[in-house]
């Protein structure tokens, strides 16, 4: 991603010097988020199998794989919506254990969902302000709400003014197009001051232009944030990400730079080859 600090770029490029294709290479020093030996089953179906992965501050990590590979399940485990059967998730060296999703969100583990989960009956500004208030102490305030609203609205407006929806803060979200709702969805996530931003197919269903707007918005706020991006648009992943992790049938088969991943025989066999055939 172009907005990456140079130091992060250097760090991200290290693995390409010595290509790593085995699972242990996914663990990096100074990880912001560390996932170790995470496994998850639903009944007899094993969805994740001993997955270990690190995410470093400032990097953009792509997470790709065929449908059912376990990508969203991994997001759900990291953000606390699911409990792993085994394994640990460490954020800034602290094990998250059974910490519920709201507490993880307040630490800075922020996510979006495959569907656009916006508040349709409220204005764009109120949507973003909802996320702003969640970060402060006034989220549950009853008395003195006017001041809390004003502060949150001002912060929300600043975010809105920096994107394609500038000047439309009063519009009802229900009246926006799908692409505009995805931008609101992203603004909500960015308003949470994320340390790690987990994006689950944010560009799905968007036109090329809308996808570009959305990714530009992420880039604007990327300097202090690590991004983990699930996307089926391979071009987007290879263009935007510093490293790419590939999941197949619940197993992490490779983590490396886009150049290495593109040539990786296991990845080509499991995902890229099949994708190329489909595209052909």
């Amino acid at each position: 991603m172009s907005a990456l600090p140079s130091s992060a770029r250097t760090t991200a490029s290290v693995p390409s010097a010595a290509p790593k294709t085995s699972v242990p290479s996914s663990l990096q020093p100074h990880a912001l988020l560390r996932i170790t030996d995470v496994a998850k089953s639903f009944g007899a179906s094993r969805v994740l199998e001993s997955v270990s992965l690190d995410v470093r501050a400032g990097e953009t990590l792509g997470l790709i794989g065929p449908n059912g590979a376990g990508k969203t399940t991994l997001f759900n485990i990291v953000t606390g919506f699911l409990r792993a059967d085994t394994g640990t998730v460490l954020f800034e060296g602290r094990e998250l254990g059974a910490m519920p999703p709201p507490a993880r969100a307040r630490l800075g583990l922020v996510r979006t969902f495959q569907k656009s989960l916006v508040f349709p009956t409220q204005s764009i500004r109120r949507n973003v302000a909802m996320a702003v208030r969640a970060q402060g102490s006034g989220a549950y305030r009853w008395w003195g709400g006017r001041a809390a609203h004003a502060q949150a609205d001002a912060a929300a407006q600043a975010l809105i003014d920096g994107c394609a929806l500038a000047g439309c803060g009063d519009e009802l979200v229900a009246d926006l197009s799908y692409g505009e709702q995805r931008i609101v969805d992203m603004l909500i996530a960015l308003a949470q001051s994320p340390r790690v931003l987990l994006l689950d197919e944010p560009t799905a269903g968007l036109s090329t232009e809308e996808a570009a707007q959305l990714l530009a918005l992420v880039r604007q706020h990327h300097a202090q944030t690590a991004v983990v991006l699930i996307a089926h648009d391979i071009d987007v992943v290879f263009r935007e990400c510093d490293r790419i992790a590939v999941l197949d049938l619940g197993q992490l088969i490779a983590v490396d730079t886009p150049e290495v991943i593109r040539q990786h025989p296991g990845v080509r066999a499991a995902y890229l080859g099949a994708l190329a055939e489909v595209q052909a």
């Binding site: 508040f119 909802m130 549950y140 008395w143 709400g145 809390a148 929806l165 009246d175």
Partner: protein, 325 residues
């Protein structure tokens, strides 16, 4: 940018809602001057108290998407508590309100905790079960509640040495509770906690991902709704000097929901309009036929078809379209 409702009509609609509510308050305040007979005033007090209970239910349904089929238990438990306490402690207004609010919050709090992780049909059934447990208590604990006969003969409402048992005094007390209840509920809905409740209604999963404690928001809403319904319920037995198990029965909860739908889900003053329509039909039509519920049913169906968002929203839309804001 797609075509959307500009901000002005939205704000206008909101202001119109306030104006209608203000007009309703003025009409209610002047009503004793128009019709001062005892029956009408007691009937007016009943509408105001039950309307307040419907408004508090509307906080849960409209504000939080929490359709409770046990809200009569909250309202009725407050009434029973006040009536029982009046027998031994006297029927002083502040004490009755305090006891009613505490009882309402207790039952609503239990309901909120029991239903913490449920939604949809399971939520509905759980609130029904808790409500029916309260009814069972009222119906079986004969020594305290009077069982099927209910409670009569408890002291009349008073404030110090001032007797509040006249129709006009009861009407004014009910109007005061309705007004304060409306202000409390409105301030809650407009505060960050009320916005968070609306967020839980629309996107509960996203709210968790934003860092909100969804359970805390829901229980708080239950407690506030319980306090408002409890205050109204505390005075309800003194209007006719009687409270019976029907006031906590699930069918009363269903009636409150019907009133909320007729008046307008999500509208605070809609609760009073719904209570007015329902109780008027109940009182007037039942003097001609036992089948007054058939008329209620027809009104309900007609409302859903012709005014799907209820009378209050219909009035609001007409006002905005007619440029009368």
């Amino acid at each position: 940018m797609s075509t959307g409702l500009p901000a002005a009509p939205l704000l206008a609609k909101r202001r119109l809602g306030d104006k209608i509510a203000l007009a309703l308050v003025l009409v209610l305040a002047l009503a004793p001057l128009i019709s001062g007979d005892g029956f009408s005033l007691r009937f007016g007090a009943e509408i105001l108290l039950i309307g307040t209970a419907v408004m508090s239910l509307n906080l849960l349904i409209g504000g939080g998407g929490l359709v409770s089929l046990g809200h009569a238990a909250v309202f009725g438990a407050a009434g029973y508590s006040a009536a029982v306490a009046a027998g031994s402690l006297g029927a002083q207004l502040p004490l009755m309100l305090l006891i009613g609010i505490a009882a309402g919050m207790l039952i609503a709090g239990i309901m909120g905790l029991v239903t913490l992780r449920s939604s949809g049909l399971f939520f509905l059934v759980l609130t029904l079960v808790v409500g029916q447990m309260v009814w069972e208590l009222a119906f079986r604990w004969r020594e305290v509640t009077g069982g099927a006969d209910g409670l009569r003969g408890f002291p009349k409402l008073a404030l110090g040495s001032l007797r509040l048992d006249t129709p006009l005094a009861l009407y004014l007390v009910a109007a005061g509770i309705a007004l304060i209840g409306w202000m409390v509920t409105r301030s809650f809905q407009q505060a960050p906690i009320g916005q968070a409740l609306a967020g839980v209604r629309d996107q509960p999963i996203r709210m968790g991902a934003l860092g909100y404690q969804v359970g805390r928001i829901r229980v708080t809403a239950f407690l506030v709704a319980g306090a408002v319904a409890g205050a109204a319920g505390a005075i309800y037995p003194f209007v006719n000097q009687y409270i019976g198990p029907n006031s906590v029965h699930w069918s009363m909860s269903a009636a409150l929901i019907i009133m909320a739908v007729i008046g307008g889900v999500g509208s605070l003053y809609g609760g009073y309009l719904g209570a007015l329509v329902y109780l008027f039909v109940q009182t007037e039509v039942s003097s001609y036929t036992d089948r007054w519920q058939l008329v209620i049913g027809l009104i309900f169906v007609a409302t859903v078809i012709l005014m799907p968002n209820g009378i209050a929203h219909w009035l609001g839309q007409r006002g905005v379209r007619g440029g009368r804001v």
